[in-house]
């Protein structure tokens, strides 16, 4: 029992250290701006746009969609920034050569970003709810919370894929930026997926967020867990597929790198 407690403590501390390392560049002012000002402004922009186009009664629709999309910010950029940092400080080869279980290494990197993502969404939502006086009294709040957790996990799964790509592609962060904003278009954040051309709808449903956002909107309207379980299961499945794909890519790239095939990896 004591041993378990000790291991948990070590794990928690390593996550905390990872978090500090992730934002070591930031002063407290910079951190607040980055974690608060940018996300909230982004939500406000789309909510105001949506309210102008479709009426104030739809504010919650836009607030939820855009707040949840922010998990992708933490998931995608967090993982990719970790890899980029390791490259910059020259610790990437150490990571690849370390005998530690690489899945654990990999996941501990993702978990920091999941926690970060959840925090971002909660803060973003709370501020938007207050600013727009949104009505959540019918909402199934525990279920909404569950949706937030699920989406944070699934977008981090997508992030793992980009983390792997980041191993070989110096400019992966650019790709991540484009994908991040593409999610705004294809995942039903600001308008229903059904309005997209058919091909893009296929893309929508192969990405995280799409089903999760739908489930969250239903939870906010008072749905029970039974009504959205299908959506959430699908969301988790997609996230898992992306994470597995990312891990597989990681292993392939790692073995290439060790055979000296990937100079770029270092």
């Amino acid at each position: 029992m004591r041993r378990l407690a000790l291991e948990v403590a070590v794990f928690v501390r390593s996550i905390w250290l990872q978090y500090v390392a992730l934002f070591q560049w930031a002063t407290i002012n910079g951190y607040i701006a980055y974690k608060l000002l940018l996300p909230v402004t982004q939500i406000l922009f789309f909510v105001e746009l949506g309210v102008y186009a479709t009426g104030r009664q739809n504010a919650l629709y836009f607030a939820l969609g855009n707040a949840l999309q922010l998990t992708a910010n933490a998931g995608i950029f967090g993982v990719i920034a970790t890899v980029a940092n390791e490259r910059q400080y020259g610790t990437l080869p150490l990571l690849l050569a370390s005998p530690a279980n690489r899945l654990v290494t990999f996941l501990s990197r993702a978990i920091v970003n999941v926690i970060d993502g959840i925090a971002t969404v909660v803060v973003g939502l709370v501020i938007t709810v207050i600013l727009f006086g949104l009505d959540l009294h019918r909402a199934n709040l525990p279920l909404l919370g569950l949706c937030v957790v699920v989406i944070s996990l699934t977008t981090a799964g997508l992030g793992l894929m980009f983390g792997s790509i980041g191993l070989v592609m110096r400019d992966a962060i650019i790709l991540a930026n484009v994908v991040y904003y593409l999610l705004l278009i294809v995942c039903g954040i600001n308008f229903p997926v059904s309005r997209l051309p058919f091909v893009l709808q296929l893309v929508s449903y192969s990405l995280p967020l799409t089903r999760g956002v739908q489930a969250a909107r239903e939870a906010a309207a008072g749905a029970s867990i039974g009504q959205v379980s299908g959506l959430l299961a699908g969301e988790l499945m997609i996230g898992l597929l992306w994470a597995l794909g990312g891990y597989a890519l990681f292993r392939i790239l790692e073995s290439w790198a060790r055979r000296g095939g990937l100079q770029e990896a270092y």
Binding site: T27, Q42, Y52, A53, N177, R195
Partner: protein, 260 residues
């Protein structure tokens, strides 16, 4: 004369650096188009009214123009800090405002180009057009808008040199202006305190005139809007005068320019 040459060279060098930088294509080409797409989808949600779609035609371009015009000079200060050249250019006999003048102008050029792909996307993708364009008023409004962007960028750019943390703060301001200056929706929808803040931002008035020049229904008071934008821009420049003095002094006290 030699100062004009120095500013011109800073302009040319900035353009060349931007042409070979992948990031710069994101900021003036890719991001604005993504915003345009979302904007047009949302604006066409509640039954397409052409006066609303106008915001989709020009909104993405405005966003692109603003982010490039405003952030490029600041970002390039940040780049110069990373590459260690910030200190070098600071130590030359050319005042830093001359160099930033050149950099900001380079941003304006890229930003103006940003309108074209977005308008094309709106036309071909969503059949959205500017219903009643008054070319002269449009061009003058765009000129006034350019002046206001120029003055804000030139005024705020030295803050990037002075405070590294300003980077994220000033990035937030970039997004805030999308909302406050009515780039993609009129500010009449905003809370009254927000409208108050918007009123002291020069682009608000220029953007208002710009959109007014594309639709018939009035009432329009172009002269007032133009004068408001120009007047505010001049006030910013006065502030810039003090900021540059502060930066020249503070940078030499703290040695911040050298830090990466």
């Amino acid at each position: 004369m030699s100062l004009i040459r120095a500013g011109w060279r800073a302009f040319v060098i900035t353009i060349r650096m931007r042409v070979i930088s992948t990031w710069s294509y994101l900021s003036w080409l890719v991001f604005p188009m993504l915003f345009t797409i979302v904007g047009l989808y949302v604006l066409s949600s509640g039954g397409a009214s052409s006066s609303r779609l106008v915001y989709g035609v020009l909104g993405g371009g405005l966003i692109g123009y603003w982010s490039v015009a405003y952030l490029d000079a600041g970002n390039s200060i940040q780049d110069e800090r990373w590459s260690g050249t910030l200190e070098q250019i600071f130590a030359t006999p050319t005042p830093i405002w001359v160099i930033l003048f050149g950099k900001v102008c380079a941003g304006l050029v890229f930003g103006l180009v940003s309108f074209l792909p977005n308008a094309a996307l709106a036309y071909f993708g969503f059949h959205a057009v500017l219903p009643a364009l008054d070319p002269w008023k449009f061009v003058i409004s765009l000129g006034v808008l350019t002046l206001s962007f120029f003055c804000i960028a030139l005024t705020l750019a030295p803050l990037f040199a002075l405070w590294r943390w300003a980077f994220s703060m000033l990035n937030g301001f970039e997004l805030g202006v999308y909302i406050l200056c009515g780039f993609m929706f009129p500010i009449a929808a905003l809370a009254s305190w927000a409208q108050g803040v918007a009123g002291v931002l020069a682009p608000t008035w220029a953007v208002r005139a710009l959109y007014a020049s594309t639709v018939m229904q009035g009432p329009h008071d172009f002269t007032l809007w133009w004068l408001a934008a120009i007047g505010l821009s001049v006030v910013y420049l006065a502030g810039a005068y003090f900021l540059y003095g502060l930066v020249e002094r503070e940078a030499r006290v703290s040695g911040e320019l050298a830090l990466a």
